[in-house]
Symmetry: C2
Subunit: 339 residues, 2 copies
């Protein structure tokens, strides 16, 4: 590599070089550099070491430091699908920012949900003496805890495992469903359809519970004819059009933004205007989609960045753990022009 | 953490424990575990060490191993925007898979394009004695090389720096533009509009060059009236509608899938059918969008996974470097129903 031969200079300066330049022993340099408590080093020697470190551009070896201190500054993050969703990236981003803030570095492994890759990733992290592992999934669900995680501190992110005793951080699906529905209620709607997903999941049950709670709070009678179900994508939303229109709804809460996007297509084909003829609210605040539909979609946000950050805070003991072991993060409303 | 106290067992088994169980010296265990060449260990002693390693679930300390071998098994990946695009995830995924295949672990840092965060990330990686660094951007562009990269082997991924002497891996924008245009030519179109981006970039110049080359190859006269420009998002595509219709085009090559999505909205509002009234091809094969438009969008794929994988192969010297320093990766056609 063209820049490698000339540039390795600073990396090849050793503790011995620093000791020689400062006129002290290697042990003294080590004590100063690693800031060992209890080592008695005179101010003069300390100053000479610090000057030599600066003059020689000496870079202490982080691995040696880890060994001498007996613990590493790594946090592992095992994710099942970095590649297939923009969401996982936000979890990584939040976890990394929070880890760095506290002097930790994130080791990231993508497993594609493959058990062998998962075991390899966890073994690698244990070999690097991670402080602990965040185990995350790209959509909120219950998991079987991989046995290898028994060997280290673990926090589950965007997933949970009842009876495992492991702390977890998940989105508050019910509160999110209430928030989305209340946005429609507050705009004056009384006949509100909910297109739920066909996939059993905490999102399915939680958002439905939130929808019903918001109706109850507003004194609106529940009506089973208004609760529909569809595949959680554009095709599902488009296919729901007839049922939505037949229900007599003036507003629709869609399980996610992709469903809303498909519903938009169907409504447009019938010449119906959003929000004048029918109001729509989504869920997720999906990047690239929500803000760019016509009209831009009002929705609630899945707090992926915050899930990652909160996971690190739980792991490091910065946040107190709730007695229930499950921390729920709110999904805030994002107001645009579809209500 | 509930599982921490009980579970740390395996991590606390030391080389000394193994030596005691096997009835050999610690040095012998070290030689066997680290597979040191030149160390003469009898078959019997080797077998006893291996049995003891297994029986005690001894896990060699990867950090100590790195130090004893004088080189690490880390590759660094610095990305400017993990969070704001699903693309970066694919680069990470490809780099990680390829790194693992060769026994390396990826250290990932997200910098949000912030120079201070970038310096911190690179310094951290150097401290961990990475084998080298992949420096990546979320869209293909020319960069200023951060000075700290002079201290290690570097490969640029999805970006380049003329005159830096650094190898880089980028998408072949021109070939991609030719491929997209040829898909329309092959379907019988002669009057093909191109909605280019307003943002100066290799994608802007490369895709235009490919569009023109494909016309030339097909013996179709160039017509400036067919080359439009717009913001590279849904809003830009929607705003291009009148110009597209005025140009008399029967087919449109859109700078990216988001532009195609906006154009779809406009065409639908005018009652025009895709592909019967007008054919559309995109660029990117953007997840969550391209396959789910009505009709599903024909496009060419930005090969982000392969960019990450090829970057690792270049770094490790597995792929031969092209004389030009720039490796271009093809963008394959993805055929759906908009042509």
């Amino acid at each position: 590599m063209t820049n490698a031969d000339s540039g390795r200079g600073t990396a090849s300066v050793t503790m011995r070089d620093v000791a020689k330049a400062a006129g002290v022993s290697v042990a003294t340099v080590s004590h100063v550099v690693n800031d060992k408590p209890g080592a008695r080093i005179g101010d003069d020697a300390r100053k000479r070491v610090q000057d030599a470190v600066e003059a020689l551009h000496y870079r202490p070896n982080a691995l040696a430091k880890t060994l001498s201190q007996g613990s590493s500054r790594f946090i592992g993050l095992v994710a099942d699908a970095i590649a297939t969703t923009p969401f996982a990236g936000q979890i990584i981003h939040g976890a990394q920012d929070e880890a760095w803030k506290h002097g930790y570095v994130l080791l990231v492994a993508n497993t594609d949900g493959n058990a062998a890759a998962e075991n390899d990733a966890i073994a690698m992290m244990l070999e690097h003496q991670v402080r602990g592992i965040l185990y995350s999934t790209w959509y909120h669900r219950e998991i079987e805890v991989p046995p290898a995680l028994a060997n280290t501190d673990t926090v589950l992110v965007d997933c949970f495992a009842d009876g495992s005793g492991l702390p977890s951080v998940v989105p508050d699906e019910e509160l999110g469903g209430r928030t989305a529905t209340r946005e429609l209620v507050d705009a004056g709607h009384r006949r509100i359809a909910f297109i739920n997903t066909t996939t059993p999941s905490p999102a399915q049950s939680g958002r439905l519970a939130g929808y019903l709670a918001a109706l109850d709070e507003a004194g609106i009678d529940r009506d089973d004819a208004l609760v529909l179900s569809a595949a959680p994508d554009q095709e599902g939303g488009y296919a729901s059009l007839d049922a939505v229109l037949a229900s007599g709804a003036t507003a629709v809460f869609c399980h996610n933004d992709r469903v809303a996007m498909g519903l938009y297509d169907g409504l447009r084909e019938r010449g119906l205007r959003i929000p004048d003829d029918i109001a729509v609210v989504g869920f997720d605040n999906q990047d690239i989609i929500a803000a760019h539909l016509r009209p831009p979609l009002s929705t609630v946000e899945l707090p992926h960045y915050e899930l990652g950050a909160a996971g690190v805070r739980l792991l490091l003991g910065i946040d107190t753990r709730p007695a229930s072991l499950v921390s729920r993060v709110a999904c805030p409303p994002v107001r645009r022009h579809s209500i």
